[in-house]
Symmetry: C2
Subunit: 283 residues, 2 copies
């Protein structure tokens, strides 16, 4: 298979740079030496593992994109930029027929979907690239829909730990709350216990020192009325590797879908929005 | 609502006696003062919380059952007897039109189903009465069917602890193994780590002293190839309360289904086999 051209946008950002390292090391991809960045970024290049990336500011990109597309045909964009850039970038990809994987959270998600659906390109739009966490969320959703009140009478504790500096409560934990509600347990998002203190994370949670600056640990504990039954689910993620793996799978999935669409030669075809659930199913 | 007559079979056995205590304390039921027991049992009565139960040996039961049915109409049997009695008892219930909840494991399960399906009575047949564990198993089955290979590359550890004296590996843990296999992890039933030593259970597992003689603790740990992601699921059950709750729900469910069937007045109706999944769905 010819390597898939990938334009990874969002460098020199931390997450984008880590994911770039994984994609660059993967033979199935050719990571092109350009990356869209924010207007406020002063650097004009960014280096990862010996590879130089030219950073393209918003005012430069439209002038250079046609040349880039010509040099790197059938390119897929992978977006780990900034919430404020989500919709603008979506419109840009559509305008230049670049299918994309949107790993950036925030922005107007409905408008983003609409942009794709009314275009002729397809995209994977996923607020969480960690496949196994998305799979676990789907399990919880299935239980909530299929067995309402399964845990009626139980008490719930949700604890999450993230690196110091993350101000808001975990979005994953908040999304889980409504599944537990359907399973019969009254619980508010405010009841989630947050930990941001590196000392406590090290001493009580036993989070490895090197991951104090980047981790996402979650524990959900369900206890029966008389405390004789305890169910506990946890997903503890250190660093960003899991997101890089999911991004690679999403890009491969999108590439496969695009080829299927080309083979079907659908005329006047509209863009399709895929989610990580689609990627997991591998349909 | 008139209390539902329940004949709880399997006394003076430990599990049956505990469940009898729960049913006796529940206004929705009338626990009748008879219990089918094994030929080897010498006692002729059994007392639970001030209630006396006449123990009926296999050779007595056919002679007394018609009188019991007359005295306690629309009776439902709840069976926590012995694997060797499962099929014989199933045939007995069918012969005398007694709908039943089969909480006893073992025996020829296929033959048991057939007995019910070819009769005019219905039954809940469940190898595990713990609703929340059955629900969690259904979640795992859903994931295994929907997202095969979701955990490909991960390593799995399964640990289970039960009271000293339980010789075989946990059936629940063994059932889980095939879901994890479908999720992409090679793992054999023999890889399950069993703990039966009360000293270690107390010291390392922190199992409460009073439950060392009756508990079922399970932990499934999934670790990503580079150890940066860890998923852990556990269900820790002390004593038998969770099974009593599930048995009560199964009996209520069966009673509801029987009334629906009566209202439908289906002629020549065949017996239906329900599972705990049906009870959970509450269909």
């Amino acid at each position: 298979m010819k390597p898939i051209n990938i334009m990874l946008n969002g460098m020199p950002g931390n997450v984008a740079s880590i994911i770039a390292g994984h994609i660059a090391a993967d033979d199935r991809f050719n990571l092109i030496p350009f990356s869209m960045t924010g207007a406020e970024i002063e650097a004009i290049t960014h280096n990862i593992k010996g590879l130089d990336f030219k950073l393209l500011k918003p005012d430069e990109i439209e002038n250079s994109v046609l040349k880039i597309i010509k040099e790197f045909p059938d390119m897929i964009a992978v977006d780990f930029t900034h919430p404020t850039a989500v919709n603008k970038n979506g419109e840009f990809y559509v305008k230049f027929n670049i299918p994309f994987v949107m790993g950036t959270t925030g922005g107007d998600r409905q408008a983003l979907s609409k942009t794709v659906l009314s275009s002729s390109i397809s995209a994977v739009i996923a607020p969480n690239m960690a496949k196994q966490i998305v799979g676990f969320q789907a399990m919880m959703e299935y239980a909530a829909e299929t067995f309402p009140d399964l845990f009626k009478g139980y008490t719930l504790q949700i604890k999450e730990s993230h690196q110091k500096g993350k101000a808001d409560t975990s979005g994953t934990a908040k999304a889980m709350v409504r599944y537990y509600n359907k399973l019969g347990i009254p619980f508010a998002e405010d009841d989630i216990i947050m930990e941001r203190d590196p000392e406590i994370q090290k001493r009580e949670w036993h989070i490895p020192e090197e991951h104090l600056t980047g981790h996402a640990w979650h524990t959900y504990t369900l206890t029966s009325p008389n405390s004789t039954a305890k169910f506990e689910f946890s997903h503890n993620i250190n660093g960003r590797d899991i997101y890089a793996q999911g991004t690679i799978d999403a890009a491969l999935f999108l590439h496969k879908k695009i080829n299927e669409e080309i083979n079907l030669q659908v005329k006047g075809k509209k863009g399709t929005v895929y989610t990580m659930i689609d990627v997991l199913r591998g349909l």
